[in-house]
Structure formats: structure tokens, C-alpha cells
């Protein structure tokens, strides 16, 4: 068995590296750079029941070692995703994680029910943490009761395991994680973006037409690591970690914190080859760290057994 192979609910991953939702479209653009079946999986762009145009532009702004986006869940809608995007992706032998979004629980349910039947969709990622839409989105991800409800409703209809994507914009991330675990989530993905804003000195107004947007990139990595460190000790479902991952070292840091796989978002914009580059770099890094299989690293930062083991060295 390969040192990078990982098994998670619904997912047989040849390696634990996957592009994060919204940062890779439905894969077409990046397929010009490399063969997509090198990836562990692909988290595709959020899909809603109906097509959406999203927010007015400008939709992105740079920040120090990060970026803000307010795309606003633009997507071609469920039908087109089912009939065009997912079939196109099926030419690659790579599991798809479908990111599901909506404004009401019914929205989520109808998308989840249908999209989970696509042959190459091996898991859902329930996006209850999008900061860029007026209704739904973030609201679902910051109120424990609604997070519970939507997770449960989606679990009831989904044909594949359901991962819930947590928002970092909460006081108590552990509470949110426990609530969705109780509602039946098979896994967690975290974190979505932090809410942020930049203001243009010349116009005096926010750079993003939407005002605020979601902060991603290396700037937020310490927040993600902290949250995964906290949550992974309190739940019994696996975590796919994300936020500012750029290198194989970052991936290891996420595993040590408690992640079982890692998604790469913003970094794709900077370096379109970032995912294959990380995948290639991992084995040498595991050698350096004296680790046989990457999964041994999950949660080492807090695992007691490992403390004992290592102190006996």
C-alpha cells in the first residue's frame, strides 16, 4: 500500500491532497496543466439548485499573505452540473466531493439528493459556511440548531457520506463540530474563509463590491490549525483540513494538528501545479520525519501515546 493512500468515509484516496471547493472550478481549467487523476480527490465548486450569477465585481482583493473573495456561489446550477460537469470529470479516475449549497434546507436537500447519485460523486461537502451570500450560507454554519437540522436533513437523503464544512467565524468551533457529528455527519472539512474586508484608500469604499468577503490563504493557516487541533480531540469523525496550504510541510502541520487529508485552495491561483508538486514532495518529507505512512501523523500534536513513544527515544 502506498504511503500516501488514505481511506475516509466514502473515499479511497490515492493520496490525501485535493483542491478545495471554489478554487478549481470543475477541473477543466487545471486539466490543461496536468492529469487530474494524480489528485487524491477533487472538491468541486459549490452547486445550488438553480444557476446563480453571484455577486457584482470586483469579487477579489488581495490582503497581506491572503486574499478576500466574494464570488457569491456563482454556479451553473444542479442540472448543468449533473449533465455536463460531472460527466466530463468522469473521464478521470478520481473521486469527486460535491460541494452543496443553498438558501433553505429544502435547497440543500434537493441538491444533495440528486447530486449524490452521480456515479463519480463519492461524498458531499455541505457548505454551511459561505460568507458571501445574504441568506443561508454562513447563517447555517454559525447557529448550532440550524447546522444540526440541515446536516440531518441532508444525511437522510444522501446516497454517499456527508462531510460538513465548518465556518471559522464562530465563538465555539468545538460545539459546532459536535452538533454536526451528532446530526450524522461522516466527516468535517475545515475551515472555510474568515470574514474580512479591505478598503480602497482612493475611493474610500470597500474594494469588494460586496463589502466584506472571505479571507483565505497563508494568513489564516494558524487559525485553521488551532481549530483542527481543538476539534479533532473532541469528535470521532475525520477532518479534511484546509486554509493556506502551499507546501508539503503545511500538509504535515495539518496532519499533526489532527487532519486526515488536506485541501488546497488559494494556492492553485498562485501556482497551478501546487497540488501535484505537494504530492510529489510528500514521500521525501515523510522520510525526513521518519514516518512510514502519512496517516501516522494524524493528531500527533495531541496524542498521548505518541508523547510516551517519543519520550522513550
Amino acid at each position: 500500500m502506498s504511503r500516501l493512500q488514505i481511506e475516509l468515509p466514502g473515499l479511497q484516496l490515492r493520496n490525501p491532497i485535493m483542491p478545495a471547493s471554489g478554487c478549481f472550478g470543475f477541473g477543466r481549467e487545471y486539466s490543461q496543466f496536468y492529469k487530474l487523476d494524480q489528485l487524491g480527490a477533487i472538491m468541486v465548486k459549490a452547486t445550488t439548485a438553480e444557476p446563480r450569477f453571484g455577486n457584482p465585481t470586483p469579487r477579489v482583493a488581495e490582503t497581506t499573505s491572503g486574499m478576500l473573495n466574494a464570488i457569491g456561489l456563482q454556479n451553473p446550477g444542479l442540472e448543468k452540473v449533473m449533465n455536463e460537469e460531472l460527466p466530463w470529470l468522469s473521464q478521470y479516475d478520481v473521486p469527486i466531493i460535491a460541494n452543496v449549497a443553498g438558501s433553505t434546507i429544502d435547497d440543500y436537500v434537493s441538491v444533495a439528493k440528486r447530486i449524490s447519485t452521480a456515479p463519480n460523486v463519492h461524498a458531499l461537502e455541505l457548505n454551511i459556511s459561505c460568507p458571501n451570500v445574504k441568506e443561508g450560507g454562513l447563517a447555517f454554519g454559525t447557529v448550532p440548531e440550524t447546522a444540526y437540522e440541515v446536516t440531518k436533513a441532508v444525511k437522510d437523503v444522501s446516497s454517499v457520506p456527508v462531510y460538513v464544512k465548518l465556518s471559522p467565524n464562530v465563538t465555539d468551533i468545538v460545539q459546532m463540530a459536535k452538533v454536526v457529528e451528532k446530526a450524522g455527519a461522516d466527516g468535517l472539512t475545515m475551515i472555510n474563509t474568515l470574514l474580512g474586508m479591505r478598503i480602497d484608500l482612493k475611493t474610500g469604499k470597500p474594494i469588494l463590491a460586496n463589502g466584506a468577503g472571505g479571507l483565505s490563504g497563508p494568513a489564516i493557516k494558524p487559525v485553521a490549525i488551532r481549530m483542527i487541533h481543538q476539534v479533532s480531540q473532541q469528535v470521532n469523525i475525520p477532518i479534511i483540513g484546509m486554509g493556506g496550504v502551499q507546501t508539503a510541510e503545511d500538509v504535515v502541520e495539518y496532519f499533526l494538528a489532527g487532519a486526515s487529508a488536506v485541501a488546497v485552495g488559494t494556492a492553485n491561483f498562485v501556482d497551478p501545479f501546487v497540488c501535484p508538486t505537494i504530492i510529489e514532495a510528500l514521500p521525501a518529507l515523510l522520510n525526513e520525519l521518519g514516518v512510514d505512512h502519512i496517516s501516522e501523523l494524524t493528531g500527533r500534536s495531541w496524542k498521548k501515546e505518541w508523547n510516551l513513544q517519543s519520550s522513550s527515544h
Binding site: 487545471y30 496543466f33 477579489v60 491572503g66 456563482q74
Partner: protein
């Protein structure tokens, strides 16, 4: 489209804060078309994080050289301006859809209208059009005298009118007042208000406008750079400036 680690060959400040940079990479050739752009990484670290879209200003396909002209203003471009020959410039490209050079023929006449830092792509366009026997005329608008560039270079290809907003050089005022109405084509690149003013220019064969938009990926994946389609009543149709553009036929998208 490829990722190229090009070598910086020369860098010159050709006007106030306006830099001409020439880079070399063996993959730079005639596949780089007028109106297309490259996405440039400034600095090696995570700050600045995003790439900067910069137009192709000139290509030497034999020597594999790419010329770009940019204004050093923000964090990224100021870093770029500090680079010296021998340095590595990481760029993605060529990106996007350029001007429809192929459809313009010998004998056609064309207005090339540039505003400020929108002027550079028109140089490569003008070169390619004149090569095809097209008669080109240029109007370039700038803020003020100190930022005017490439006047002589464009003159070698066709007549040039310069306007400045403050009247410090050339004609005072905007480019739009300088156009006669008898060209077959109009090609323009510059700030949105200028493009909107040119949208209805009565060209016999076509008006093509190169748009600017803040970008994430630059390759069509992130949907940062979309614009609405004119006449689309659903409000759902869109074009991506980075991959469907940056050049659009006037009337195609909402400016």
C-alpha cells in the same frame, strides 16, 4: 498556456513610474497574440500573494523575448520594478482571447485607442496589423506629460495623437474627441469610462475592447472576473474576462 520561469533581460523606466521589462524564455513565440496577457508573480514569498495580469506589448519570436510595460504603483508592481537582469520572472501565459488580428485585412483602416496603462497591448496589435497591410492610426490618452511613453515607437507604425487630461502634452482632454468616424475597426484598451464612451463608435466592421478586472486565477477557474452579457434577460449569462476576454466585441458584454 504554460507556466514559464522566464529570465529578465532588461528593465528600463521609460516614463515616470512606467517600466518596460523584457524577458526571455524559449517557449515565447508567435503563439503569444496581441491582446492576450500573462499572469506575473511578483516576489518569491506569500506577500504579495496573487499574480498580476500584464498585457503582451511586443514579442520577438526568434529571440524568444516578451516585452511588457507596466506602472509600478502597488505592492506587486513595485517589487517587479526592483528586479534586475538575470532575475527569474514567473509567469503564466499566454492567457485569454486577444484582438481578432486574423479577420482584419490589407486595406482596412483601424483606430487604436489607448488610455494610460492600456496603451501597451496596442503596440503589439499595431505591429501585427501593419504587417498585414492595415492602415493604423493611434490616439493615446494620458494623465500628464511625465507618464507618456512609446510615442516614437507607435509613430513608426502610423500617426499618433496624444491627449493629456491636464493639457501638459499634446491635446488637452480625452481620446474620444480625437476620432474621425471613417475607420473599419476600432480597437481600444483603457479604463472603463473610456471603453464605455467608445462602445458605440460607428466602425464599419467592428469595435473591440479590452477589459480590466481584478483576477484570482487568471485562467477561468475562480469566477472572480466575470461580467454580464448584454441583452441577457436571465441575468445568468456571463463571460470571464480572463479566459473569454480580455478582448470582447463591443456589445457582447456589459461594461
Amino acid at each position: 498556456m504554460r507556466q514559464l520561469k522566464a529570465e529578465l533581460v532588461s528593465q528600463t523606466e521609460i516614463a515616470y513610474s512606467i517600466f518596460e521589462v523584457i524577458v526571455y524564455h524559449e517557449a515565447i513565440d508567435e503563439q503569444f497574440q496581441p491582446g492576450q496577457f500573462v499572469h506575473v508573480k511578483a516576489g518569491n514569498g506569500y506577500d504579495p500573494l496573487l499574480r498580476r495580469p500584464i498585457s503582451i506589448c511586443h514579442i520577438d519570436p526568434e529571440k524568444h523575448l516578451l516585452t511588457m510595460i507596466y506602472r509600478a504603483e502597488g505592492k506587486g508592481t513595485r517589487l517587479l520594478a526592483k528586479m534586475v537582469p538575470g532575475g527569474v520572472v514567473d509567469l503564466l501565459g499566454p492567457l485569454g482571447q486577444g484582438f481578432p488580428v486574423e479577420s482584419v485585412g490589407a486595406g482596412d483602416t483601424a483606430w487604436l485607442v489607448g488610455g494610460g496603462i492600456g496603451v501597451p497591448p496596442l503596440y503589439y496589435l499595431s505591429e501585427e496589423l501593419t504587417k498585414r497591410g492595415v492602415t493604423v492610426k493611434h490616439v493615446h490618452g494620458f494623465q500628464t506629460e511625465s507618464v507618456v511613453f512609446y510615442e516614437e515607437k507607435f509613430k513608426a507604425l502610423g500617426p499618433v495623437t496624444i491627449t493629456t487630461a491636464d493639457g501638459s502634452y499634446g491635446e488637452k482632454g480625452f481620446v474620444t474627441t480625437q476620432l474621425d468616424h471613417d475607420a473599419d475597426y476600432l480597437f481600444a484598451c483603457g479604463p472603463s469610462p473610456m471603453l464605455r464612451a467608445l462602445e458605440s463608435y460607428p466602425a464599419k466592421k467592428g469595435v473591440y475592447l479590452s477589459l480590466e478586472q481584478r483576477m484570482g486565477c487568471g485562467i477561468g477557474a475562480c469566477l472572480a472576473c466575470v461580467c454580464h452579457v448584454q441583452g441577457d434577460e436571465t441575468g445568468l449569462a456571463y463571460r470571464k474576462v480572463c479566459s473569454d476576454g480580455p478582448v470582447f466585441r463591443a456589445g457582447e458584454v456589459v461594461l
